[in-house]
């Protein structure tokens, strides 16, 4: 049973690890965020930073947020991989075997999650080099990766659900345009919500990115995580995964 999912997942993983461009993308994008965006507040007086961000280093503030955002952004690649398989007919090859359709979906989602998780150690290492001090213990690192896996699974599922029925190359780009920016800016990944208007706060309070950013901020910076947030992320991942599996069985066709 697991053999089929394993085979399809290994295919995704090998394709990721063997692509030079993928590595350039995976390393450069989050690092550029940290260095360029993270440095934009470096001249702000310390008292202002502390009262506003509760830390004297803005890079430390956005690191947990950026980790969560990078899991959102990779969701697009699950869609792209699925569309590529439709375009090149590979999905036909798979669906002519006794493989259930939801295995195809699960493999794409786990592939997207893997892609995102590769970025986490890179981001942590760069932050340490940039002078961020964090509470890094086996527990905190374990929880960090677990929570990021949940975010990755949730958003990769969401992306794949949106593009289940299309074989249009353009679709993932359009979906990412509609999902990424609103979710990123309505979360507390980049800024605290103290100055958000009330409608934005409403979105922020259900946005999984907020929960991931706050959970890991609490854990990495203050050693005081809110475990409920981890639960929220687990539920988010599970709901998206189940919904996607059901919809895939119903709506996925080979071309």
């Amino acid at each position: 049973m697991m053999d089929r999912l394993y085979a399809l997942y290994m295919r995704e993983a090998k394709r990721i690890f063997r692509s030079v461009y993928m590595w350039i993308m995976l390393i450069s994008q989050p690092v550029m965020w940290l260095i360029f965006f993270g440095s934009s507040f470096s001249g702000v007086p310390k008292q202002v930073l502390i009262s506003f961000f509760h830390t004297d280093n803005y890079i430390a503030f956005i690191l947990p947020g950026e980790l969560a955002i990078s899991m959102l952004f990779v969701g697009m690649f699950s869609s792209m991989s699925l569309i590529q398989d439709k375009r090149f007919g590979y999905l036909k090859r798979v669906l002519i075997t006794p493989t259930p359709k939801y295995d195809v979906f699960l493999a794409k989602v786990l592939g997207g999650m893997t892609r995102g998780l590769i970025q986490a150690p890179i981001l942590l290492a760069v932050s340490v080099v940039l002078g961020v001090r964090m509470n890094l213990t086996p527990l905190s690192i374990g929880v960090l990766f677990l929570s990021l896996a949940f975010v990755g699974i949730g958003f990769s599922s969401l992306y794949s659900i949106f593009t289940l029925k299309t074989a249009d190359w353009q679709a993932p780009g359009v979906i990412s345009n509609l999902i990424n920016l609103p979710l990123m800016f309505s979360s507390t990944a980049l800024f605290p919500k103290a100055f958000f208007p009330s409608w934005l706060k409403l979105i922020s309070d259900v946005n999984p990115l907020t929960y991931a950013a706050e959970l890991n901020r609490g854990m990495l910076l203050y050693n005081d995580p809110s475990w409920n947030y981890l639960l929220y992320l687990a539920v988010f991942a599970l709901v998206m995964l189940s919904l996607g599996s059901v919809l895939t069985n119903k709506f996925l066709y080979a071309e």
């Binding site: 053999d3 085979a7 399809l8 290994m10 692509s19 036909k92 090859r93 006794p98 493989t99």
Partner: protein, 317 residues
């Protein structure tokens, strides 16, 4: 014993009937061909028989199981070779085989894969990326993948399309060989007459979603063969002839005769030498069978293909 048994198999896309109540049987160990122009319904038939798309009406037994009620059982007993070679080009030949083996649930796949690669003479290339394989090697790898699960039936959708003459001949030999060595029933589609003629034990001629004739190539030629004299008319030619076995289109007259050489002069006299722009003689072959059955050549029938795909696209929306 039949490997394939279809009953009124039908597929509709909206109002368009792609496959129209076809019924045929394929015996175990046969090489059976579906011959017809593009858009005749060949690929759609294969899609239904491999469980890729459910039929709108009717049913079929493949390897003893219903494609409607037991598609999973069917899928684990068949192999499939696409018209465009479908591999993962970023993975090696061996990795492609591994995925296929796990998806079809083959135990001891490594022994089987090694044996098949040896059989096709590509074992030494197993760790090369599939994208770097030559076209012939890619086809061989694809056939090896289709044989991994020791299928009862292999479906080949236009197996030699896009191959040069030499590679095509090699493919024909390969298909005959695996049919014999692995005792696998083969259902293939083609629009090459000579391919159907040389390869298939039996043949169904399919046009506009219907099987219009089915028999061995020899019997088909006996029944519907004969020579065809085809006359291209000058523009504005006036005809007042009524010959037997004649079809007249805008600029063309086709006449079926027993022996073209002896009938030619009579035909020219009847049509009138002044009306004739050119003459072509088709000696008895499957080409002639097709012309006699459908009233047109494959090329002429293919004009429907564009309309066919446009309708499918519309129906899907």
């Amino acid at each position: 014993m039949y490997s394939i048994e279809t009953r009124d198999l039908t597929k509709k896309y909206g109002d368009f009937v792609a496959v129209d109540h076809i019924s045929f049987t394929v015996k175990r160990g046969e090489i059976f061909g579906l011959l017809g122009p593009n858009g005749a319904g060949k690929t759609t038939t294969i899609k239904m028989l491999t469980g890729l798309t459910p039929p709108t009406e009717g049913d079929a037994l493949v390897a003893g199981f219903s494609i409607v009620r037991n598609p999973i059982e069917v899928k684990s007993r068949i192999g499939w070779i696409s018209s465009e070679v479908i591999l993962d080009d970023d993975l090696t030949g061996w990795e492609n085989l591994e995925i296929q083996a796990r998806l079809t649930g083959v135990k001891n796949w490594k022994e089987r894969a090694t044996e098949l690669l040896k059989y096709f003479g590509i074992l030494e290339f197993k760790d090369r990326k599939a994208g770097k394989f030559s076209t012939g090697m890619r086809k061989k790898l694809e056939i090896a993948m289709a044989l991994l699960n020791s299928p009862e039936v292999i479906f080949m959708d236009e197996p030699t399309i896009g191959l040069d003459v030499n590679t095509r001949a090699t493919m024909w030999n390969l298909i005959r060989q695996i049919n014999k060595d692995y005792e696998v029933t083969v259902l293939l589609t083609t629009h090459y007459m000579e391919e159907a003629d040389s390869l298939c034990n039996r043949l169904g001629i399919i046009n506009k979603g219907r099987i219009i004739a089915m028999d061995t190539p020899e019997e088909l030629k006996n029944k519907y063969g004969g020579d065809v004299i085809e006359i291209e008319l000058k523009p504005g030619a006036k005809l007042n002839v009524s010959l037997e076995n004649t079809q007249v289109t805008d600029s063309r007259v086709r006449i079926r005769v027993n022996n073209a050489e002896s009938a030619l002069m009579d035909v020219i006299r009847a049509v009138g030498g002044d009306n004739i722009k050119g003459i072509r003689v088709n000696k008895s072959s499957l080409d002639v069978v097709f012309i006699n059955l459908t009233g047109g050549t494959m090329e002429e029938q293919e004009f429907d293909a564009r309309r066919f795909y446009a309708m499918i696209r519309r129906a899907r929306r």
